[in-house]
Symmetry: C2
DNA sequence: CCGATAAGTTAACGGCGTTATCTTCAGCCT
DNA sequence: AGGCTGAAGATAACGCCGTTAACTTATCGG
């Protein structure tokens, strides 16, 4: 509200020491707009610029385009999701309980920040594909933590010994992601309590995996995708 | 390509008998654009109008706005999904096998039509909330079929007797939806074969549900959402 | 002191969804 | 037959969007 006042022309800020300041200010504004409006479309470059107190083209001095900006917001949210999940397992020794807690924290995060969750996990593949590898690494790293947790659970005997932790992690992730995603996008049904539902499903999933021969990819072609 | 030529002004078609013709032509074009470009943003009113050979405002004689148009496309896709699922269980007597087939058909549909799937299941709640009830009814009806299938499986003893078919259906739906959604939006990981994965997960889920006491909502408040 | 560079600015382009207004014709009523 | 009505188009325009080009100015290294 204060900047961009001079009207004469040229600059207002950046006494050269500020450097990357605007960069994070833009991210803040974008994130705030996203949360306040709850809609990705409402987060426009022009609105963000206005919120920061700067003209739209200035944004492009810090981000290549809108996609990169939103991706950067995603990264932040990803960090936050990672944080709440780690926080949820703090001081928890039982590896199975840890997996449960992670799952519930994940679902809760999704329900608390639906729009961010949508951006994180419901975006077109293209957007994440040709983006800088950072995003993928970030994803992979968060996922890796979960794989570790699953591996511990396997070691503890709560999940079948012979199974591939990566596959099991993918499957459990599918389960939590499925609930989260449906709860977010289909509030029309009379969903039971999310936490209890997650608990029940994870319990069932773990029990089911125990009672089922470990997954092995069929001999013919892996990666069928199209 | 042929219409809109007269340049003089006024009309070109609609000799009064054609009535709802343009309506479905628009839907066809929208659907085609969606499939060809594989991106919701690329499907603009103006492009659709051009494809049909008509000016943009004409679209609004048949649809209130772009959302309603896309929703109508969704309805069609929903019908298609419903069709492939029914087709998948044709002649299948074993209720458990029927549930599996439905699940696999669902996942395959999602992978074959990712953009449509995204619109169907990854849209904001708002869009489906204030839309005409049709969409919800349609959703509910497709879901109802699945609930019936689950109920049969419960009757057959493949799923625990005391359990609520609706809850079980929701849970199984979560599972398939989770895989589908992750496979679509996170192709970065080395996913195993989708069909085999679905099979394994559904098997595990059913086995798990059998080995777990049926879900019962906690006594305190149902519908926690936020 | 003087260029170079960084970080803003203004102006503009093309595309979008949408609306207001006008035109033309098919079909009905008399 | 002749005129009215309403449906189904067209044209022109508004305001928003992402993005780019060209300009301006302050800061700093030499």
């Amino acid at each position: 509200m204060n900047r961009a006042a001079p009207a004469t022309a040229g600059r207002t800020r950046a006494r050269k020491g500020e450097g990357e300041l605007l960069h994070s200010e833009i991210l803040d504004a974008a994130e705030r707009l996203l949360i306040e409006t709850g809609s990705e479309e409402a987060v426009s470059i022009r609105r963000i610029a206005e919120a920061v107190g700067v003209t739209p083209p200035s944004i492009y001095l810090h981000f290549a385009d809108k996609d990169e900006l939103l991706l950067a917001v995603c990264e932040r949210q990803f960090g936050e999701l990672h944080r709440v999940m780690e926080e949820a397992v703090e001081g928890v020794d039982d590896p199975v309980e840890a997996v449960y807690r992670r799952g519930k924290a994940y679902v809760r995060f999704g329900l608390d920040h639906p729009e961010q969750y949508r951006i994180l996990f419901m975006r077109a593949a293209d957007h994440t594909m040709d983006a800088p590898d950072e995003a993928r690494v970030r994803d992979a790293s968060a996922f890796h933590h979960f794989v570790d947790a699953v591996a511990s659970a396997i070691d503890s005997g709560a999940l079948p010994k012979g199974s591939d932790p990566v596959v099991v992690a993918l499957e459990l992730w599918s389960v939590v992601h499925g609930i989260t995603s449906l709860l977010i996008s289909k509030p029309m049904f009379d969903w039971p309590d999310a936490d209890a539902l997650t608990d029940h499903l994870l319990t069932a999933a773990c029990a089911g995996l125990m009672a089922t021969p470990p997954f092995s990819a069929p001999p013919t072609r892996r990666r069928s995708r199209r």
